[in-house]
């Protein structure tokens, strides 16, 4: 049953990913849809950052992650390389935990 559920998750996910490449690729889109598809990632990525930083299950919590992500934000503002941003985020979070918080 676990395998069946996993396959359902895989097939459903793939079908959702395939809508863009099959329905919209190589085709002229109306300008508003074009501008919308450019803006959609901004809202989605920001939501992923926020939820992965302060959400645990269905509750909002402040723990070591927020310190790590804040440090990563400073690195982003300084236009640091992607790898540096990730390292700073993880290392600062680990450091705060080592000091006994979160």
């Amino acid at each position: 049953m676990t395998i069946l559920a996993l396959v359902a998750l895989a097939v459903g996910t793939y079908l959702m990913k395939a809508i863009g490449p099959f329905a919209a690729a190589g085709r002229e889109l109306p300008p508003w849809l074009d501008r919308l598809s450019n803006l959609l990632p901004a809202g989605l990525l920001a939501a992923l950052v926020a939820t992965q930083t302060v959400v645990d299950g269905t509750s909002l919590v402040l723990d070591a992650r927020i310190v790590g992500v804040a440090a990563a934000a400073v690195a982003v503002a300084l236009r640091a390389h992607f790898g540096v941003v990730v390292l700073v985020g993880a290392a600062v979070t680990a450091g705060v935990r080592a000091l006994g918080w979160g």
Binding site: M16, G20, L36, G43, L44, A47, L60, A72, A75, F82
Partner: protein, 277 residues
């Protein structure tokens, strides 16, 4: 290097079997095509490797947790090959770990993944379309990182048709290279975590759970430098966090796509506001 790549792409599309020298007859400004394509490759590798490393850290944690939740190492690895969407896989094994119904896990995973419809539409503007197989493979490569890095680095789509073709070539190349790097890193490190999990310390002790939001923040950065992008991001955050205590997992993220829709209609005071959205 850009003109070279554009003409290469055009040559490939117009005549798949065209001999190599055909590109030079179009008068590319690149005096040394080999050197400039090497530079382009270096540039792509420099973009793809750090992303693959970050995804790898996440994949390692997933492999460890999936086995702890009761999946066999083989099924854990298989899940990364066929689902290929980290957040939903964590949600799935999270439900299993709590002793929940696997189909409930699949549903919450699917809710989390509705966002890939939006990511798919976002990258489709640059994709050339092509054969069924090509579209099927491009669909497989749609992950947060491949779409965000390809579109974020290339900037807004130009209106001029020639410039747009160049832009598309750049975006698609980056999308595919980052896509394959992420896919291979995700699958290999899932296997490593699943088969060798006992050897790894607690992923949280290493701060690996913060590596992901930090990475997403870096991917988001190009949008934060435009007024409309900032508006979309701010609304997305407010909706996601506001809905989290009440809505089922995944719904807050989907709702955040409203940020992009609302930002489309918000007037912004800037002379190139339109061009940057």
């Amino acid at each position: 290097m850009r003109p070279l790549n554009r003409t290469t792409r055009r040559a490939q599309r117009d005549a798949p079997g065209a001999p190599e020298p055909a590109r030079d007859s179009e008068g590319t400004p690149a005096s040394n095509p080999a050197a400039s394509s090497a530079a382009a490759t270096r540039d792509l590798v420099a973009a793809a490797v750090p992303v693959a490393l970050a995804v790898g850290a996440y994949g390692l944690s997933y492999g460890v947790l999936a086995v702890a939740a009761g999946l066999s190492p083989a099924v854990a690895t298989l899940s990364s090959i066929i689902v290929l969407a980290g957040g939903s896989q964590f949600a799935f094994v999270g439900v299993l770990a709590l002793g929940g119904n696997p189909f409930a896990g699949a549903v919450s995973g699917l809710l989390l993944n509705v966002r890939y419809v939006a990511f798919g539409l976002a990258i489709a503007r640059a994709l050339p379309g092509g054969s069924f197989g090509r579209r099927a493979l491009d669909s497989y490569l749609i992950v947060d990182e491949s779409v965000a890095l390809a579109l974020g680095k290339a900037g807004p789509m130009p209106r001029d048709p020639a410039a747009r073709q160049e832009w598309s070539g750049e975006v698609v190349r980056r999308f595919r290279v980052v896509g394959w790097s992420v896919v291979s890193a995700w699958i290999l490190t899932t296997a490593a975590g699943a088969y060798g999990g006992q050897l790894i310390a607690d992923p949280e002790l290493l701060g690996l759970d913060a590596a992901f939001p930090a990475g997403f923040l870096a991917l988001l950065a190009p949008w934060l430098r435009t007024p409309r992008g900032r508006t979309a991001a701010a609304i997305g955050v407010a909706l996601a966090l506001g809905l989290t205590p009440f809505a089922p997992p995944g719904v807050p993220i989907i709702a955040a796509s409203l940020g992009g829709i609302i930002a489309l209609w918000v007037p912004v005071r800037t002379e190139h506001g339109e061009a940057t959205t």
